[in-house]
């Protein structure tokens, strides 16, 4: 069972996703936009890694390259004013929800034009204007913040999505908040990005009971295990869960199985992962899968190439602008602990 999961989605999951591929009214071009967003995240992470090695990004970073289909597929099912909470591996959560890449890059660079004025850094990004309630530096924190946002959402006709990793499913936050959300029938979607490693430790070695998705059954909550590298599969599962939330039927747990291309954080080369396992996952790169699918759906290679070039140029502009921005001035921007 564990081996099958580590290899990615089961045959049945992939087949199911492909059966559902042709939603009425959705064209290949709709998916091209989603693919473009995934590429934006990939490039952003590559740029952050490059800038980190140059000493422009400080402290630590947790990159989400390889996991792009999860936030993009999920957020494609949301409205702009729905809420999302993310993790310290949250650049993808922010970009998928609509955060401006330049403002996000400036935040990583500690600049005054950062989405949080340089006060937050990589792990604690907040962008309420785009419904990003926050990214949280402590494992599991996003689950409670998302649950709370769902309490507001219930009164506002919105939906709240909490992203978290496999490690968080062993925190008290997970168990307390899934119970809470089910008890109050909150419009929440709990999205576990299972990348199979909690920091450096294989998830299976510290997690009882096999897969994470089945834990929802203990709370009477519907759940689904999803191929998290397949944009179509994630979107399909998200549409169903978000519709359930929006119509007052309560929360859902989605376990999206995926894999991070980099180590846990900047200081981790990821040597604890067997090379053949890494190769198997790299062969299922979510961007490559999406590209192949788009070609299958009739998109021309030159259309894809043009999209790639657009995104490359957009990212280039964003990084250049962020690098040109000023640092905050301690004399003016030091701020205060309380709102007056």
């Amino acid at each position: 069972m564990a081996d099958a999961q580590i290899d990615g989605a089961t045959e049945a999951q992939t087949e199911r996703a492909h059966e559902q591929k042709d939603r009425p009214g959705e064209s290949a071009h709709d998916y091209l936009e989603r693919y473009a967003r995934m590429r934006l995240i990939r490039l952003f992470e590559q740029e952050i890694q490059r800038l980190f090695l140059k000493g422009e990004v400080h402290g630590t970073t947790h990159l989400s390259a390889g996991q792009e289909a999860v936030p993009v597929g999920l957020c494609s099912a949301l409205r702009p004013d729905d809420y999302v909470t993310g993790t310290y591996r949250g650049h993808g959560h922010a970009l998928a929800k609509g955060t401006d890449p330049e403002a996000l890059a400036a935040e990583m660079l500690g600049r005054a034009t950062g989405v949080c004025g340089g006060r937050a850094g990589s792990m604690n990004v907040v962008d309420l204007a785009h419904g990003l309630v926050g990214c949280f530096g402590i494992v599991g924190g996003s689950i409670a913040a998302g649950t709370g946002a769902a309490m507001s959402a219930q009164r506002q006709g919105r939906v709240a999505v909490a992203f978290f990793g496999d490690g968080a499913s062993n925190q008290g936050y997970f168990h307390e908040c899934l119970n809470w959300a089910q008890v109050f029938s909150l419009p929440a979607v709990f999205v576990c990005e299972n990348n199979f490693y909690g920091e450096f430790t294989p998830m299976v070695s510290v997690t009882a009971g096999g897969e994470i998705g089945i834990r929802a059954a203990a709370f009477g909550m519907p759940s689904q295990v999803v191929d998290g590298n397949d944009l179509w599969a994630v979107r399909e599962a998200a549409l169903e869960a978000v519709a359930r939330a929006r119509t007052g039927e309560g929360p859902t747990l989605l376990e999206c199985q995926t894999y991070r291309h980099y180590g846990h954080s900047k200081s981790d080369p990821g040597k604890y992962r067997p090379p053949d396992e890494v190769d198997r996952w790299l062969a299922r790169d979510p961007l490559d899968l999406a590209k192949a699918r788009l070609v299958e759906l009739g998109l021309r290679e030159d259309e894809l190439a043009a999209t790639d070039a657009d995104i490359d140029a957009q990212m280039d502009r964003a990084i250049q602008a962020a690098l040109a921005a000023p640092y905050p001035d301690p004399a003016r921007d030091s701020g205060s602990e309380f709102k007056a």
Binding site: Y83, T85, G114, V115, C116, G117, R119, A120, N124, V126, D127, L128, A129, V133, G134, F136, G137, I138, G140, G141, I143, A144, A145, G146, T147, G148, A149, A150, M151, S152, A153, R155, Q156, A160, G172, Y173, E176, C177, N179, W180, V183, G335, S336, E337, F338, K339
Partner: protein, 330 residues
Amino acid sequence: MSELEFRTAIRSALDEEIERDPSVVFFGEDVALAGGVFMTTPGLHDKHGNERVFDTPISELAMAGAAFGAAVTGLRPVIEIMFGDFMALPMDSLVNQAAKYWYVSNEQSSVPLVVRSAVGAGGRFGAMHSQIHGSWFQGVPGIKIVGPSNPADAKGLLKSAIRDDNPVIFLEHKRLYSMKGPEPTEEIVPLGTAAVAREGRDVTIVAALRGVRDALEAAEALVADDIDAEVVDIRSLRPLDHETVLGSVARTNRLLVVEEGTRVGGWGANLLGIVTAEALDELDDAWIVATDDTPAPYSPTLEDAWLPGPATIAAAVRERLGVTGASSSS
């Protein structure tokens, strides 16, 4: 003159603020149908309905985390973490999320959140139901900590806390719930201000919560020794109103801080340090009366000895002022 009971003051502040602002919601364990284990909130559920007042699972981490998430998305939650001791459970939500959000988000949203708890010893509740968690949180920027010593302040401070746009930890001493006192004269009491509870010229005694009652009782006993003690009710641990204390010390030149908690790591030592740094020249003497460095004991004889009560406070003042004790037989 009509008198107000402390627990009624709490209920009445909640009732009026829930009525006044449709975004205020109040939830906690046993607060709705049961009306609270200290009977502070009976009738609120019946009056305001399940949307505004509701019972929760025994899940302090989820409760505080959800309250935080709700607070930054449009609601103004008031939660009850039943006993202050239970505040060890939701520390991450409050310390890492609620307290930091306003600053770290670059002021994208305030966090209007109140966390009420029953605190303090003397009720024979034992070590895990008797602590005051104010000092645990005092070093965390972004979170206010307030606590009343009388019914009028209980109402005015709680109303202020609910209207405040920042996370507020609200301390209710168990041995004050049945206290009766004058009705408030003002609608609200501002957060972050200490109050002179008794004027005097010989020594300033600063205390909080139930300790203020004990200090006032000690001050009355000291009259027989010809000692005129000033009592300051600190009311707020963060922000810490050291200005009011400095003003008092300028008159009395002596400072005693009474803390229901240990001397090391307590708010009392913190205050004494600030006053010493700011006004060493004004001080002839400065010291702290605190609890022993043990958890709160259960047995009545042990717990009474552990708490700094009126007799302990009065004796400490007599000793430091070199008075042999005209009333020491009383």
